[in-house]
């Protein structure tokens, strides 16, 4: 822990390089960070207000406020799994606390998500839905919880993938299935009672619910939801730390 703090400059430098390099060479450059979620919003609006009527008021907003945070988590699964193996040159040749790589990856994705929230806020205001300032103050709490969750999952998948290369390809399917098993596209009230246990085990369920309570229902999230999310986030991070530190010793030899 102390050691990771000592390597903070390495984390900053990796994050900076990732954010700078992301849209390098494209004409619109960094603007893509904002254009991407906007385009998605357009597609969803078109599909769900014109073609497939969902029966939820302002369904595109209902979906959008959950989709942006979901995409962060999903990227941690599908992109995070290679965040160590893609740096094998460094891992094989130099010592540094290996945790630096997943931390940098998640942080960079996280900053990207926060920037996307600028679009979310704009859309909420322009659409007339408006925002509840008091509820918004709870947003950083849920951001931090989701960051912890993302870090936990990235620690797990990035270390396991080194020993089980196929995981990288399987995770695409897992991410898709996971999305359908999380109330991203539908309200939790739609879930049959007998599956509720499974849904509550899903760490992303309370997180997505909290986002929706804050942004869509404009309410301060229930303490129960937050507590549930914190518990899941901390548990997953703990598992991630244990798995990663068990496996990291052999990274250089396996790569």
């Amino acid at each position: 822990m102390k050691e990771i703090y000592a390597y903070r400059e390495m984390i900053f430098s990796l994050v900076k390089r990732d954010l700078k390099g992301r849209y390098k060479g494209s004409a619109l450059g960094f603007l893509w960070t904002f254009i991407n979620p906007l385009m998605q919003l357009c597609v969803y609006t078109l599909v769900f207000s014109q073609i497939m009527r969902a029966g939820v008021e302002d369904y595109y907003l209902f979906l959008f406020v959950a989709l942006i945070p979901w995409l962060f988590f999903s990227t941690c699964l599908t992109g995070g799994c290679v965040c160590v193996s893609s740096q094998q040159d460094l891992v094989k040749k130099i010592y540094f606390p290996r945790e630096v790589l997943p931390i940098a990856f998640v942080t960079s994705q996280f900053i990207n998500m926060i920037l996307s929230f600028v679009v979310v806020f704009c859309v909420l205001l322009i659409s007339g839905k408006g925002i509840n300032v008091l509820a918004i103050l709870c947003l950083p709490v849920i951001w931090i919880i989701e960051y912890i969750l993302g870090l936990g999952i990235t620690l797990i998948v990035s270390s396991v993938t080194i020993f089980l290369r196929d995981l990288e390809y399987v995770l695409g399917i897992i991410a898709m299935a996971w999305q359908f098993l999380t109330p991203v596209m539908y309200p939790r009230s739609l879930v049959p009672e007998k599956f509720m246990g499974l849904f509550l085990l899903n760490p992303m369920t309370p997180v997505i619910e909290a986002y929706r309570e804050i942004l869509y229902y404009k309410q301060i999230p229930e303490l129960r939801t937050l507590g549930h999310a914190v518990f899941m986030g901390v548990a997953l991070l703990a598992i991630g730390i244990v798995v990663f530190s068990k496996l990291k010793r052999d990274f250089a030899e396996e790569l």
Binding site: R8, E9, M10, I94, L164
Partner: protein, 249 residues
């Protein structure tokens, strides 16, 4: 661990698994669960030694005897199968120079990136950057991309960063053949200067003279064991003798 010890190595054993097929896919893991063919090569066999703070130690031995492996264990890139390694202080290793360099970035940017990988903070790098540039002698090129450098210039920059990070323990693996003769001498003098400041140094080098000039102790590894250790001149004499006879046999 004793306070004036820098490195303590206790009964370490290192084996490498050499796979004939490097299979990591699920099919291979499921189908050939315990049948993936591999050979275990014992490289270090129950080795122990200790190095005092400020001491200079040379590792010698024939090709493939495990000198680089020992350094990699000390720098914690790889870990022993059994045994224990205790390190007291910040380690900087000059094992693979220039790992983590980005060809499209300038020399200056690479100094920042590389020093960060060694665990320096922004402030520390700011304070060192001029010294590093001066040492590399790349003033005129420091703001051009590293891909335009010659191999010698590239190595000079990498060496300049690695040697200026203020480590307590410096691990060096056959990289003193950096740049031209004059630059080599400069590196060598810099190492002496660092050593004089109290830094512990462990060197692997083909040049026994260099080891004799810097180190108080040589450790000779043969067949995974320490064959002899002690005063460099004496050990080197035995070693050269042995190698001569070894090759005649």
């Amino acid at each position: 661990m004793d306070k004036d010890m820098a490195i303590e190595v206790r009964h370490i054993t290192k084996k490498f698994k050499i796979f004939y097929d490097k299979g990591h896919t699920m099919k291979e893991l499921v189908l050939f669960k315990n049948r993936r063919k591999y050979e275990e090569r014992l490289v270090l066999d129950d080795i122990s030694f200790s190095i005092k703070k400020g001491e200079g130690v040379g590792l010698i031995g024939r090709n493939g005897c495990g000198k680089s492996t020992t350094l990699k264990l000390l720098t914690r890139i790889i870990y022993p199968n059994s045994g224990e390694i205790n390190i007291n202080g910040r380690v900087s290793s000059l094992i693979e120079l220039g790992a983590g360099f980005h060809p499209d970035m300038s020399g200056r940017e690479n100094i920042y990136i590389n020093a960060a990988i060694f665990g320096l903070t922004r402030k520390e790098i700011d304070a060192k950057v001029d010294e590093i540039i001066d040492f590399s002698e790349l003033w005129d090129y420091i703001d051009t991309p590293v891909r335009t450098y010659s191999t010698g210039m590239y190595m000079r920059l990498a060496f300049a960063v690695a040697i200026n990070v203020n480590a307590d323990i410096l691990l060096i693996d056959e990289i003193l053949a950096v740049g031209d003769a004059r630059f080599q001498e400069k590196c060598f003098n810099k190492m002496r200067e660092i050593k004089a400041r109290g830094t512990t140094i462990v060197i692997v080098s083909h040049s026994l003279e260099q080891i004799e000039a810097i180190c108080e102790k040589s450790i000779w590894i043969e067949h995974g064991k320490i064959k002899a250790e002690g005063e460099p001149k004496q050990i080197h004499k035995q070693y050269l003798e042995f190698m001569k006879n070894g090759y005649i046999e």
